[in-house]
């Protein structure tokens, strides 16, 4: 191979990369609705919320949208919150959701559900996540099915917001008899190396924007244990982060015979109401959050709550 050929190959690849970058602007959804090709629409509903209206942002995996109902907290305390939870969320996803949300929101508190902290990120996932971040085309290439001339105009206008503010109602009951999951086994679960970097990034964003970062472990027999609690406690203490583990602090809050839809993996609606009440009190008591009830700017929240209580019976 001659130098000329190497140079030619380099130019060819460079142009290809530029084309893919250009196509990324075309293929990225121009609205956060399903019919615009957006995925994880309930979590991405944060993008459609009115500017600077969310006081608390919750990030994490399925534990978040199973256990925390923003509208219940709004009705009880008046502060607004949104759950950017997705199934099996990796910490880099949590980090990305935080960054995306910060575009339009200035939350006072960010609640990070701790289960995602123990979900290790492989080098492969890390690479893929970064390539996709740089070239969203790879994530949305399948949108050729919905593409129209409007997509050539790269302007984005997110209009959708989830009426349940990210919370997912699940009323099923599949009980779990064995509640013996928080025994002190004198072990500390180490946080995966790959996630320490993202924790640092999340902390930095919160510090830079004067946001209070809070760690929260919601009840889960399948996913949580004492060693994990110890690991998070150690990290939280070291980095002066408020940490609440309901599995420890209020072990009897959840009745696993009635409050779980999947043998203790998550809580169901009944369990979520208890957890939400507990978390709502903590947030309201400790973080000086505003009460928007009665505020005309937040009328839509009252409306959403009325709809919500019809569904969440």
């Amino acid at each position: 191979m001659k130098i000329k050929d190497v140079f030619k190959s380099f130019i060819f690849l460079l142009i290809l990369v530029l084309i893919i970058k250009g196509l990324s602007y075309v293929f990225v959804p121009k609205d956060n609705r399903v019919n615009f090709g957006m995925r994880q629409v309930s979590a991405n509903g944060i993008l459609g919320e009115k500017e600077n209206t969310i006081d608390v942002l919750v990030i994490g995996d399925s534990e978040t949208y199973s256990a925390i109902s923003p509208l219940e907290m709004y009705n009880e305390h008046g502060f607004t919150s949104y759950v950017c939870g997705t199934p099996a969320q990796r910490l880099y996803d949590s980090y990305n959701f935080l960054i995306k949300a910060m575009d339009k929101q200035k939350p006072k508190v960010v609640v990070l559900e701790t289960n995602a902290i123990y979900r290790a990120t492989s080098v492969y996932e890390f690479l893929i996540a970064n390539v996709v971040k740089l070239f969203p085309f790879f994530d949305y290439h399948d949108r050729w099915k919905q593409l129209s001339f409007r997509d050539l105009d790269a302007s984005i206008n997110y209009t959708y917001t989830d009426p349940n503010k990210g919370f997912k109602i699940n009323s099923n009951v599949v009980p779990e008899k064995n509640w013996n999951y928080m025994q002190d086994i004198h072990e500390v679960s180490e946080i995966p190396e790959s996630n320490l970097k993202y924790l640092k990034e999340i902390r930095k964003i919160c510090n830079d924007n004067d946001i209070k970062l809070v760690f929260l472990s919601t009840p889960s027999i399948k996913n949580w244990n004492y060693a994990k609690y110890e690991g998070i406690k150690e990290y939280a203490t070291l980095n002066q982060i408020d940490y609440y583990d309901i599995n420890i602090d209020k072990f009897d809050l959840v009745d696993w015979m009635r409050d779980t839809p999947d043998k203790g993996d998550h809580v169901n609606l009944r369990g979520a109401k208890k957890v939400t009440k507990y978390v709502g009190n903590i947030l309201s008591d400790n973080y000086n959050l505003p009460d928007h009830r009665g505020d005309k700017n937040y009328e839509s929240w009252d409306k959403d709550y009325k709809e919500y209580i019809k569904k969440a019976k």
């Binding site: 191979m1 001659k2 030619k8 290809l16 196509l23 290439h141 399948d142 050729w144």
Partner: protein, 529 residues
């Protein structure tokens, strides 16, 4: 690591290319060998042990056969004429024994990994038939990917050495590379030693043209696999796993789509393999030659999985049909039944063995054996009635190359292939028959409505892009059939035109490929055979 994974295409392959580029000429083959062993290790650690063992076996057998040959020559030089025949026979016997030993070891290794389950199930069935309580409990040692492919290459080497077609005095690294060369390890093509070994071991410098052509071939293979085969996967999987929920018409559509999927998947992966080899200047044998332009089943098998077909022809069919007993039978039958029917009977015995083994090679299951027998039957019938049809065409004054006749024959062959593949893909022979029966007893065109067709995970857009891509591939096939060298003609165009075509191909793949979180990755379909 599969050939269509991004870490093969964007990490493994570029690193090997770079290593090969940097290495001095003498070390280039070792870069390929190291890369091949790394690839195999990443695929399955145990497979590496098997392939190293197989390499040692063929190395020793080759040397042994060569040593016997040299000894024979030496003895023949120092011996009186009358004893020469005796010595030759003696050494022929010795060589045959060494060859049989080599074949036995290689086949035993294949059996241990692939057929023990099947053998034990059959023994237990027989035992239960005779109401014996004892049960055999042996199972496959492991199922390393690709063992069926490299075993055939290994066998071809020792048989070729025995036949004197290639020398057995080859260097161990050269043999190791011939057997383990990474692009061919999971699905072939089943290369012969004299096909690729010299290319592999010569340490050719990287050439820009080879790299471009190799990359083009890879992209073309990826389009076949990811735009067509993987996109059709949900439809095919649902029909074959829940056939009892569907009307015969839907089952037939599922089987047709399966044939499309299988061809695009297998030939796509082969394109990637051949393209990967081409980058290093290694010309691997072609495995497909427009199989759906075939006019008969035997024509089909000379165009589909060519390297397997020629392997069976050279190492099973000819040795059987040209052995003494067979020749005696041929002349005896020729006298009694005439020149056409006479050779057909002994030839068909060889053919029967070939198709029995072909079925068995594809998998340890009765559906595969049936698949083999199914194709044997149509080839046998084709051979039997060919003169009859030729006579008929002559009497009716129909030119055998008449376009209409060609189309009819191509359609007939395609239909036979489609039903054969039904049994090939079915989870068992009995399921295959149930599906077959349903096609003929519960068939309604009404079932082929859009709601049914589009309700199995492949939507209208998917079908549209599959059809468009198939049309493009059909046109390319047609041009190839007319001996048009498309790649050379593109290469002769000005750089701007050339690059536009390449970008269009790459973007076609990137936009329409079935990859990403919406799609479950589909393993290469021929890797487990």
């Amino acid at each position: 690591m599969r050939y269509f994974d991004w870490y093969y295409l964007l990490a493994f392959l570029p690193i090997v290319i770079l290593g090969y580029f940097i290495a001095p000429k003498k070390l280039k083959p070792f870069v390929l060998l190291l890369a091949s062993y790394v690839y195999i290790f990443l695929l399955c650690g145990k497979l590496l042990v098997y392939i190293v063992l197989a390499t040692l076996v063929i190395y020793i057998i080759g040397k042994w056969l060569e040593k016997l040959k040299a000894k024979e020559t030496e003895e023949l030089e120092n011996i009186e004429k009358e004893r020469k025949k005796e010595i030759k026979e003696l050494y022929n016997k010795k060589r045959k024994r060494v060859l049989i030993l080599g074949i036995f070891i290689l086949v035993l290794m294949l059996t241990m990994t692939k057929y023990l389950d099947f053998i034990s199930i059959n023994i237990n069935n027989i035992l239960s038939l005779f109401k014996v309580n004892f049960r055999v409990r042996i199972s496959n040692f492991l199922a390393p990917l690709g063992i069926s492919f490299y075993t055939l290459s290994a066998l071809s080497y020792i048989i070729d050495v025995y036949r004197g077609k290639v020398s057995g005095n080859n260097k161990l690294p050269k043999l190791a590379l011939f057997l383990a060369f990474f692009p061919q390890i999971t699905e072939g093509p089943i290369a012969r030693y004299d096909d690729i070994a010299d290319d592999l071991y010569s340490g050719k410098p990287l050439e820009y043209k080879n790299m471009c052509f190799g990359a083009q071939r890879i992209v073309y293979g990826l389009i076949k696999k990811m735009v067509i085969a993987d996109r059709l996967n949900p439809f095919v999987t649902t029909i074959f796993s829940e056939y009892y929920n569907y009307n015969g018409a839907m089952i037939l559509l599922g089987v047709i789509l399966y044939v499309v999927q299988l061809y695009m998947d297998f030939s796509g992966v082969i394109d990637i393999a051949i393209g990967s080899g081409e980058i290093f200047g290694v010309r691997m044998p072609e495995n497909f030659r427009q199989p759906f332009f075939s006019r008969s089943i035997s024509d089909f098998w000379s165009r589909w999985h060519i390297t397997l077909g020629t392997w069976f022809k050279d190492y099973i069919f000819y040795p059987i049909s040209l052995c003494k007993t067979s020749r005696k039978m041929t002349s005896a039958f020729r006298k009694k039944l005439g020149n056409h029917l006479g050779p057909i009977i002994p030839g068909s015995i060889a053919l029967l063995v070939v198709w029995f083994l072909n079925g068995l090679w594809h998998g340890a299951g009765y559906n595969y054996l049936f698949f083999g027998m199914y194709h044997f039957t149509f080839i046998f019938l084709g051979n039997l009635f060919r003169p009859l049809f030729l006579n008929l065409y002559q009497k009716l004054k129909i030119d055998i190359n008449n376009k209409f006749l060609v189309v009819i024959e191509v359609i007939k062959t395609t239909i036979i292939v489609i039903f054969g593949e039904l049994f090939f893909r079915a989870s068992s022979l009995s399921v295959g028959f149930k599906m077959f029966k349903r096609i003929f007893t519960d068939f309604s065109f009404r079932a082929l409505n859009l709601k049914n067709i589009l309700g199995l995970g492949v939507d209208g857009h998917d079908f549209m892009i599959v059809i468009v891509t198939l049309i493009i591939i059909f046109i390319i096939g047609l041009l190839k059939e007319k001996k048009v060298n498309i790649r050379e003609s593109i290469a002769s165009k000005p750089i701007v035109v050339r690059w536009i075509i390449y970008y269009a191909l790459i973007l076609f793949l990137l936009i329409f490929g079935a990859y990403g979180i919406q799609y479950a990755p589909v393993d290469p379909m021929y890797a487990n055979f």
